[in-house]
């Protein structure tokens, strides 16, 4: 097997760009949701928990279809984004990043929630008694102590983004240079006879990237929990 060609490295670069963007967008939302679910009681909490997990259990094409309905140029959110912020998602790498972020969200939320729950609330009480308000107590106690979990969640979400296919192709189609990430490129290659070598090279890169991300995530979790917690 030869080394990947420059066109293939472009596909890898696109995949990395999409996945990194997906994780950056996903992180704050995932942490906020994780904190809400870990620390707050409110009516509809179980419903929120279930909704967050939907992309994990729905067929990816369904998630992609919902994204198309909402974020397409004719969809309510998509039209607003284009009109007000000038952001287009359809047929563009930004749409692929959104699809990847949505699919990665449940995994990131789970990892972060576990690490927030592991922070002893009595430590937060101690901080309050020493003069820290809610926000300062959160920033100086909960946030630093849950940091390894945040990182683990981010890396796990990144690994999921690298492999995202169904929602992406249903939402933003298969556009070379924009949405043809590694999984879509492999899929395209499988459709055309005579491209086995290219498919093999791309698949090998996918496997390596995913393995590295998964191992890194596991290592981070072990470091944080002293060997107790696992998110894989």
């Amino acid at each position: 097997m030869t080394l990947p060609t420059s066109a293939e490295w472009d596909i890898v670069a696109l995949s990395l760009k999409v996945s990194v963007a997906a994780m950056l967008a996903c992180l704050p939302v995932a942490y906020a949701l994780a904190w809400l679910l870990a620390r707050r009681r409110f009516p509809g909490r179980m419903l929120l928990d279930a909704a967050v997990h939907l992309p994990l259990v729905l067929p990816p094409a369904v998630t992609g279809w919902v994204l198309l309905l909402l974020f397409g140029r004719t969809g309510p959110v998509g039209a607003w984004l284009e009109r007000v912020l000038g952001i287009t998602l359809m047929f563009r790498w930004t749409g692929a990043a959104l699809a990847a972020a949505v699919m990665a969200l449940p995994l990131a939320v789970r990892a972060m929630r576990l690490s927030i729950e592991a922070v002893d609330r009595r430590l937060v009480d101690a901080a309050r008694s020493l003069g820290a308000g809610r926000i300062r107590a959160f920033a100086t106690i909960t946030l630093p102590l849950s940091l390894p979990g945040i990182l683990a969640g981010a890396v796990l979400g990144f690994a999921r983004s690298i492999g995202e296919f169904g929602a992406t192709i249903t939402f933003v189609s298969n556009i070379p240079g924009q949405t043809r990430t590694l999984p879509l490129a492999i899929y395209t290659g499988l459709q055309i006879p005579g491209t086995e070598m290219q498919v093999a090279r791309l698949a090998a890169v996918s496997v390596v990237l995913s393995l590295v991300a998964l191992l890194l995530s596991e290592w981070l979790v072990r470091r944080a929990g002293g060997g107790r917690a696992h998110v894989l």
């Binding site: 198309l68 556009i175 459709q191």
Partner: protein, 264 residues
């Protein structure tokens, strides 16, 4: 206590696996309906044909719709199906070459045309004999097509655009979908200003209108071959195939906009 739990778990697992195995093994009785792998563009018409067949007292065939390329791969991998109804000769030839078809059952059943469609309320007008007309009508939007490299509807579209000298201008403006129905959906929703789909797809959808029809001479004839697969286990398979090939069967397809197969 632990032994009891282990035994319970094992017997639960065993009964689950038994049920799964029973569900998976093909029912080899006379009532087994044939499984048909059919191109996505045949969806409405083949459902109607299957209903017609069922009304005659036969078990209703099980229909599986996808891009012909994906279906051919499934058949090659030994998927337990009875009939293959493809949207182009090439994928049928591929299976034929590998000896996967039952001899004497292959027949070219239907023809179709490809059309350029736009959302129902679009005012777009395109003259296909002017290579600049389509790109101009596209503006900064994309042309929705099934994958031009692998899916028949996409390949016919690309061939037509190449013949008409339009392909170079739109090659990088294509939104390539998994199958022709995905392309149709994009135009229906207004996400793509124009798309290339089969005439039958356009007829089936109330949300698009036909802007232009590609001349039959601009692409290889669109032919729908049908054949029984060698691995077919259903006794009804041959009967359903003959029904589809009969005048009554063909009439159903003609109602949905298909044509008799054209030969060059």
């Amino acid at each position: 206590m632990i032994r009891q739990r282990q035994t319970a778990a094992v017997s639960l697992l065993a009964s689950f696996l038994a049920v799964l195995a029973a569900a998976c093994s093909p029912a080899r009785d006379d009532a087994a309906p044939p499984v048909v792998l059919a191109a996505a563009s045949l969806q409405e018409s083949l459902e109607a044909a299957a209903d017609g067949w069922a009304r005659q007292g036969h078990p209703r065939p099980v229909l599986s719709f996808a891009a012909s390329s994906a279906l051919a791969r499934q058949a090659e991998s030994g998927a337990p199906a009875d009939l293959f109804f493809s949207a182009d000769e090439k994928w049928m030839d591929e299976l034929d070459g590998k000896g996967l078809l039952r001899p004497g059952t292959r027949i070219t059943l239907l023809g179709n045309a490809i059309v350029l469609v736009a959302p129902q309320d679009s005012k777009a007008a395109v003259a296909l004999d002017d290579p600049a007309s389509l790109p101009a009508a596209l503006g900064d939007g994309r042309l929705a097509m099934a994958d031009p490299a692998a899916v028949p509807a996409g390949k016919y579209g690309k061939a037509a655009l190449e013949t008409l000298g339009i392909w170079p201008a739109v090659e990088h403006r294509v939104a390539s979908g998994e199958n022709v129905r995905a392309a149709l959906a994009l135009v229906e929703r207004g996400e793509a200003p124009l798309g290339i789909v089969y005439a039958t797809d356009a007829a089936a959808s109330a949300k698009v209108r036909v802007v232009a029809t590609f001349p039959a001479a601009s692409h290889p004839p669109i032919l729908y071959p049908l054949a029984v697969l060698k691995t077919s286990a259903s006794p009804d398979a041959q009967g359903f195939r003959d029904f589809l090939a009969s005048d009554a069967g063909r009439a159903i397809f003609l109602r949905y906009g298909f044509t008799a197969p054209q030969t060059r």
